[in-house]
Symmetry: C2
Subunit: 161 residues, 2 copies
């Protein structure tokens, strides 16, 4: 299971790696929280949403992208608040959490460290034999980190308790 | 109860506002997490520490400083991860959480929006009739936000669930 952290929209993607080389898609989607709610309530909603999704799919492992700030600091703070709650909840509910850098994800999916968002999404569609690119972007990004975990054979940094 | 968020060191300060005008100090201290542990484990340690302290002192209200980034982005990301867990845990355990900007804290304690760290700490010592400035800084900062909450009569932004 992969997660793409965010306060307004947190994406998740579930894949299965069976005996075949290619992983298959199980589900994807988002947990969203309304801007009209206060930050603490939104963090509680994210915790509850992550708990429910992990309980539903019972993943063997969870993969999350490492956080880098580049553009907007305010958005970055919000994402990091949400990501703190995500990491806490994911590791408590699943026990095996892996972190991947954006570079690792790009290289795992396209072989190219400077691939753009669209190239990554096209590879998600191709790897999982989907008819269209998953929407919204947050769900596609969550599938991308899950695929990175599967394709690299768990190369990421392991957070376990 | 006031908290000063941080990943390596999270400060807390407990004060009581009785019938007298001046609040009195109950306790202060820190929850610390080792750099040798992974991020997810450290977030679990913070959650557990906050839970225990809130359970011990059963505060009516909790006050936390709003987060602004200025200096180091990496430190900022870590603080925001920790702060997400702090807000989640505090609101779940106490129910009434207030947020104060650095400006509100400075003005409440010194009447001056550009007061420096040392001036704030001197006022914490003075307001609470302490013999020395509380150490470490994180604990003094936590007492400062608790005092701001008491002195401004709950002026901060309320996060409640």
């Amino acid at each position: 299971m992969g997660f793409d952290p965010g306060l307004a929209t947190l994406g998740y993607g579930v894949i299965e790696k069976g005996k075949s080389l290619k992983p298959s898609m199980i589900d994807y989607g988002i947990i969203s929280t309304p801007k009209t709610e206060n930050l603490a309530v939104r963090l509680c909603m994210l915790e509850e949403g992550v708990k429910q999704i992990v309980a539903k799919f019972k993943p063997d492992e969870i993969a999350v992208e490492e956080l880098f700030f580049a553009k907007n600091i305010t958005t970055g703070i919000n994402v990091a608040h949400a990501r703190g709650v995500l990491l806490l909840t994911a590791v408590k509910e699943c026990g095996r959490l892996y972190e991947y850098t954006p570079l690792q994800i790009k290289q795992a999916l396209t072989g190219y460290g400077r691939a753009d968002k669209h190239q990554i999404q096209a590879m998600v569609k191709s790897y999982l034999n989907l008819k269209a690119i998953p929407r919204p972007d947050d769900a596609a990004d969550a599938l991308a980190v899950a695929l990175c975990h599967a394709q690299t054979n768990k190369l990421g940094k392991l957070f376990s308790i």
